[in-house]
């Protein structure tokens, strides 16, 4: 039997994630498939599969993971993470992979558009005069249009 040898294997990638404060270790993954069996996105589209993401991680397939569309289908619902018998922070890990993909400029257009809006305004939706008129009429306090200080905080990011 041949050994599985992957030319794409990236040991630094494994080390970086496995020792990250944010994600915690993943190397205890049993490949038990509990994550996938409860995943609502997997049920809607079986191309999406968190166990596959975990296996790809274990094999160090960085480019394929962060260059592909798969991770962006995760709905951040935390079902897998809550169910995982090994206490692996599956959802936090996938979220971190999305961040790595963004650093490598692989972000779906809808997501990057929203990011830009937020960095320009300090909030997703502008509250304009029209909104504030409706708010006042309903007895709600008016709100500032955008948030300058938050915008400043995100400048140069």
């Amino acid at each position: 039997m041949n050994r599985i040898v992957s030319e794409d294997y990236d040991p630094d990638f494994i080390e970086e994630l496995d020792s990250s404060e944010i994600t915690g270790a993943f190397s205890g993954c049993l490949a038990c498939r509990t994550c996938t069996s409860g995943c609502p996105v997997h049920r809607a589209n079986n191309e999406y599969d968190p166990l596959r993401i975990m296996r790809m991680l274990t094999f160090g397939l960085k480019d394929e993971l962060i260059g592909g569309d798969m991770i962006w289908l995760c709905s951040d619902c935390y079902t897998c993470q809550e169910n995982c018998p090994m206490g692996i922070k599956v959802t936090d890990i996938i979220n971190h992979l999305k961040n790595m993909a963004t650093s490598a400029k692989h972000t779906p257009i809808g997501v990057s558009t929203q990011e830009k809006l937020l960095k320009d305004q300090g909030k997703i939706y502008i509250i304009d005069d029209f909104d504030n008129k409706k708010r006042t009429k309903a007895g709600l306090p008016p709100l500032p249009e955008i948030n300058e200080e938050a915008k400043k905080l995100l400048e140069k990011r």
Partner: protein, 291 residues
Amino acid sequence: MKYSLFLGCTIPARSRNYELSARAVASQLGMEFIDIDEFSCCGFPLEATDEMGAILLAARNLALAEEKNLEICSLCSACTSMLTKTAYRLNRDRELRDKVNHELSKLGRAYKGTVRVRHFARILIEDIGLEKIKNSVSRDLKGLKVATHYGCHYLKPSYIYEGFDDPQDPKTLEEILEAVGAVNIQYRRKKDCCGGPVLLSDESVALDVAGEKLKYVKEAGADIMNLVCPFCDLMFDSNQKGIEAKFGLELNIPVLYLPQIIGLAMGLDRKELGLNLNSVNTKDLTARLEV
């Protein structure tokens, strides 16, 4: 009981019905909300692309509430989790806190670690109590059958929520409904996600996830759906027509925010609860309750 009210981006822009009803119900129960104009986005929408930026935004919001010595009451589940998770991390990771405070100091602010963040519904359970909620009821809900959608971030990730409720078998929202005289209906996939966060990357998958749930809610014979997050509301209420078209279903399930249901039981009227702002029409519902 004073709280700073954290609205986030979505609620003031597109869920005024949630804001109106929450404020109305809170005032009936003796909760005082303080509005902090300087609050920004909670940071959640940045978490997937710029985690550090998200933490900075959240930390600044936390610092603002600390300056006023107030805890945060949040209506949106995503805001609740983002703010709670950030406080959790900053309270445990000295290095991260120093880094964050270095940035905040440029704005003349600092995160100290004194602020507490809780969802509105959690505050109802923990600070107001079911007894007091029960005593505020003045209108009979006439056996109204309600299917509750807990959503994800109200209870998850559980490691940040200090053991509040049980994400594997949640009960708190249904306890509140029971206290105000509604009938809780069980349905398949009750604990599942609304699909909302996938909307920006794959709309069809997002609608499939939401559609499956709505189908089971309908099958279970619920009169209305109950929820506590504006993202979930977007999927089940605003997108319900689109889901009906996609699956060839007739659903017509009014989707109410928890305080809209509590407010109905308290005898409040349609306008006070913003029921005219719901996407799926609520007139038959209120006619049946003689509102």
